[in-house]
Amino acid sequence: MNKEERLIKRYKAEKRFQFYGKAAIFMALLFLVVFLTKIFSTGYTAFQKTWLVIPVNYNADLLYLDPDKKPTTEDINDADFYEFGIETFINLDPDASEDQIMELKKMFAFTFERELKYYLLDNPDSFGKTVDVKLTASDDLDQVFKGNYPRDIPENRRRASDYQLKIFDKLNEDGRVISEFNASFFTNADSREAELAGIASSFMGSLFSILVCLSIAFPVALLAAVYLEEFAPKNRFTDFIEVNINNLAAVPSIVFGLLGLGVLLAVFGLPRSTPLVGGITLSLMTLPTIIIAARASLKAVPPSIREAALAMGASRMQTTMHHTVPLALPGTLSGTIIGLAQALGETAPLILIGMVAFVNTIPGTPMDPAASLPVQIYIWAESAERGFVEKVSACIMVLLFFLIFMNLGAQLIRHKFEKKWN
């Protein structure tokens, strides 16, 4: 091999190496794109909800009410809307057999009784008349309408039967199938039925946990960081605290869940499944993150600031509280927000302290049982029904939205308020 050939070979190796580097970055970015596309493409349909608009005859006889008298709210509340609903569904196909009637019923969410009742309560004038009422479609039909369910597979492998599809197509031709923004996804609590399940309860659970976490972790971490940076003597005990903080930052999150279970629940007897316990557990987890961020920004305050204050006769404490801490606050705050964003996405410790329970009420205080957004993702992802797949993706989209929002907020605080010292 002569000199030229060797050189060519070396240059080729150079090109190859650069290509590997580019390929690695490309792979990482490609994964992110595939991942986000997948989540968005499966999730966006969950923001739409399918309704079936059917003619309903609010006939007094069918409701066993007095036809000559306008019914009061109490009368309507006491009336039986189950049988009434069934009668209404039979009108869609008067020749339906017993089995087919049950199939007709299953085309609607099980809340049809309530929906029929509330329509009448809201529109008392429709008593005795036939009106069009909007009812929530079952999640099987919802998925069919959104195109998430293949229709061309054999009937026994399908959730929606041929008969249901026939009726559904007929309704669709008449323009009686409508799709609207799914507000109930944001206002409903969790439910076993995919078409009714919403994120309100888990959102409140997350909110309470994060608030508890913030109110414990931020003050404790800030004060600890101030002590370690400004007051702590250089000795072995201080070193020990430092080592401790660095190690805690790398302890797997599930270990904090075991801590919450073994100490907060078993020893202190705090209530299970509540955002209070979840928040305390998460605060122990975010504590080291915030302490490290706060120390870094305290360190970045130049000594000249402290010396100037001391020279003017301020005490060490006054120097710290009046000058150093305010200057370090933007960095600390952005570190806190990043720590909270991590806590918001955390699942495993919350599962261990029981925040994985099925909660169909919206919690009003941190002492009520609740789930959290990531735990809701886990619960729904484990459900077999197809309708939950899009819900999971939509819930992920909501969670990612909050994470992006928080991280941008942290960036903004850092850029806008942090002083650059040069």
Partner: protein, 460 residues
Amino acid sequence: MNSVIFLTIVLLALSSYFFGRKKAILIQSNKRLTALPKFYGYYLAIWCGAPAFLLYALWSIFEPSIVRFFILSDYSSQGLLEGELNLFYEKVKSLSRNQYSGELTAELQRSAEKYLNFRDIAKWSKVVIVLSLLIASTGYAYTKISNNTKTREPVEIFLKGVFFLSSLAAILTTIGIIFSLLFQTIEFFQVIPLFDFVFGMHWYPAKAFVRDASEALDPSMYSDTFGAVPIFAGTFFIALIAMCVAIPIGLLSGIYMAEYASKRLRQYAKPVIEILAGIPTVVYGFFAALTVGPFLKDLGLSLGLEVSAESALAAGGVMGIMIIPFISSLSDDVITSVPQNLRDGSYAMGATKSETIKRVIFPAALPGIVGSILLGVSRAIGETMIVVMASGLAANLTLNPLESTSTITAQIVVILIGDQQFGDPKTQAAFALGLSLFIVTLVLNIVALSVVKKYREKYE
């Protein structure tokens, strides 16, 4: 009641700030003060709030066990077991709350009345004693205030004390972790021999479903149930798969970012790659279970391979993607901190850029890179949700990445999800697994951090 006392203490402390300041301002009109008036306010507020709050906190912690002692002291002579006493006490408590639905005995009724009585006495004596301490300490401090009282120093020492206590939170957390894990683990090893746990080849915690207390103490029931070898093997296997994905991609992109990338590419690509580290792990888990698992299964079918829908490959691969940014950022930092003169020396000898990287910079940065990889491994071992959702929950001892395996973290979740019973070997097994996880990650972190630290010192 508790919150009322707490709020009273806070309000009184706040108002005593104003009293203290007012007195100082009055003194100031004819004498020189040794500190600013507000320090007199702080001084009084601390004297008012701190002792009362401390007493209140201690009282609240010890009250239940003292009441329990008094109630049960009547029965201590009867030679009952600890468990029976506990059960009896729980019955008394629920009866006093009118939530008891079991059989009523005269003993129970008497104890419940006594319990309510004690609680009442305790409550009111708490109010009286805490408030009188508050008044006494405030009065003492108020009369002490004069023009030459030292107020700034005590206030600052108090604040410093509070700061110091906050810095102990990290130590307390560590102690809490170690104790909660150790306590349960020791109980576990009293039933299951350590040897069976560390070297046993079968892990079926579901078998250890305890029907009554006498069975729980019979060790023969648990032979071949809590052998952790398949779990440990699965953990390291999945971590290995993850690192096979994360190390090449992470390291190469880190090197490219540090040495080749233009400023613009660095500015945009680096934060975008770091988004991967910010995505919650449950989201990765969902992606692995919904997309990657079925994809690998179909791919395997078309190649004639038997691939489980919950394969170790899917979980490990997705976990690897999650770890890419940890390795790429850290190795980027490490490579950037290699001194420029090493590069210049290599270029001067006629080496190309890639030769310089491979033969000069990489060896120089190796300790730091090893540190970053070790941190990545510790992440992989501690990762929970991806494995819970995408890999199997049955512990198979296998080295085939296409089959499903389970990990330490996944087993902890499997055991502890739903209702747990403390004192049951199954629950304790989860804590034993947690302790092993804690020790492994701790050792990895200490080694990694010390390697990185040594490396930094070398070039600073």
